[in-house]
């Protein structure tokens, strides 16, 4: 089973292949397009992440002790970054998600998307993913 930090490294390695920003963004846009659409019922306001210029919906469920994330966004670049976050975090046990350091975003040069003005929403997104994991860890511990 690949760990979260292995997956982070995998993404970093992939992005090292791009020598110009346009290839990188084309790739992110492709990732955005290929993220499977989520059920319309999860596109309600209560699943919205606050603070994004683009809207981001996030939903999570437990499967065999692992957290599975589902998300969508109305902006493609945002959706592509969300797809990366899901690829890295989805399918892991709550404890591992809670402790993930997520430095890969910085390493692949997307930090600007986490800045205050762009969308602290993506930071909120990571926070919300961790909060889901935390909530699941509490319920499964009972």
């Amino acid at each position: 089973m690949t760990s979260i930090s292995d997956k982070e490294q995998e993404v970093v390695n992939e992005f090292e292949l791009f020598d110009d920003w346009m290839d990188k963004y084309n790739y992110i846009i492709e990732l955005g397009k290929s993220l499977p659409p989520i059920d319309e019922k999860h596109k309600e306001d209560k699943y919205l992440i606050n603070g994004c210029q683009a809207r981001v919906w996030l939903h999570a469920r437990m499967e065999d002790g692992k957290v599975v994330f589902l998300a969508d966004s109305d902006a493609l670049i945002t959706k592509g970054i969300v797809a990366l976050l899901i690829r890295v975090l989805s399918g892991h046990v709550p404890q591992e998600i809670i402790h993930a350091d997520m430095t890969f975003i910085d390493e692949i040069g997307l930090k600007e998307h986490l800045s205050q003005t762009r969308s602290n929403g993506l930071l909120n997104m990571i926070k919300q993913m961790k909060l889901y994991a935390l909530a699941f860890s509490k319920t499964s511990a009972k």
Partner: protein, 406 residues
Amino acid sequence: MTIQADSIRKAFPILSRTVNKRPLVYFDNAATTQKPQVVMDRLMHYYSYENSNIHRGAHFLSQQATEAYESARATIRAFIHARHNHEVIFTRGTTEAINLVAYSYTKKFVKPGDEVLISAMEHHSNIVPWQIACQELNARLKVIPMNERGELDMEAYAKLLTGKTRIVALTHVSNALGTVNPLKEIIRQAHNMDIPVLIDGAQAIPHMAVDVQDLDCDFYCFSGHKMYGPMGVGVLYGKEEWLNQMPPYQGGGEMIREVTFSGTTYNELPFKFEAGTPNVADVLGMESAVKFISHLGHEHIAAHENALLEYALSQMEQLDQIRFIGTASQRTSVISFLFKDIHPYDTGTILDKLGVAVRTGHHCAQPIMDFFEIPGTVRVSLAIYNTKKEVDILIEALKKVREMFG
């Protein structure tokens, strides 16, 4: 003299820098304009040679600083053609100027059940202060609607003016749509019913000559930083009849005549509304910006910007599937749009990568976005230093966006 943007650009050091390894194309002027060297020199000069607290010390520097500060007030009076120097109150910006009136005017003149009238195209700074005041006073906030082009519905306006209306607060130019409102007619109708009018001039003042006596508005607010001046400083113009009747907004030094623990008598205008040590350096910087604008001449500025606006619109129209938000017959310097079904954030991100700075989002005017049922727009806003060449770069960049998201 016509405007030679190329030579004007030399006055703005920041315009020669690069962003993302490309020459900066700055099209976010409605958010804030860049500053010419003269403005920055003025700030440096003040702190280097003139710095002193004003209206207080009897010493040389204090007197000199006081004179400079009051002379800036006179320059600004002339710039907007106010009747008196003391009708020019220095504030932190448009936001503080509106808050001042929304607090002091309503405190004195608005009773429960009264109405405050704003419009559907206001910036949040001309909505929220009135909402707060209305809540506090049990008054009602009414809204003049607009049409699909982003023009005010003047018939509805006439009906909304009632015996209960205590003030009309309206933007001169919409920051999200570029609409220029027919102020004279609006003010005339309100005055027929003895209702004063406050104008949010933040987006008008850098682009057109403003004559507050000719408009006959009761209050006019603007920010230094949107007219080539420093941040953190702005102006409230108010007719003295109103300002004299209004209670102070903040208490402190400078705004008093006499203080005892049993009570205080207030100073006269303009000091009554300038509590505490003012932002002297930035006021002087704003004065330099005003001189800079006056030197270029408003008619030349408008000619250059309008020609550029038309050029940009005609070039953009040729792009496939561009939807302009705000198509008023009277407009200036702002182009709000959506490109195909591409999210504004996506468009903005790629433009930024290509060195083109635009604003994306709701532009602090969420009700406008709700009206058009869109998440936001991409906004290109022009200034005197922008060029056709930069518009061409924008068009090429938009083509790239289309390619990437196609």
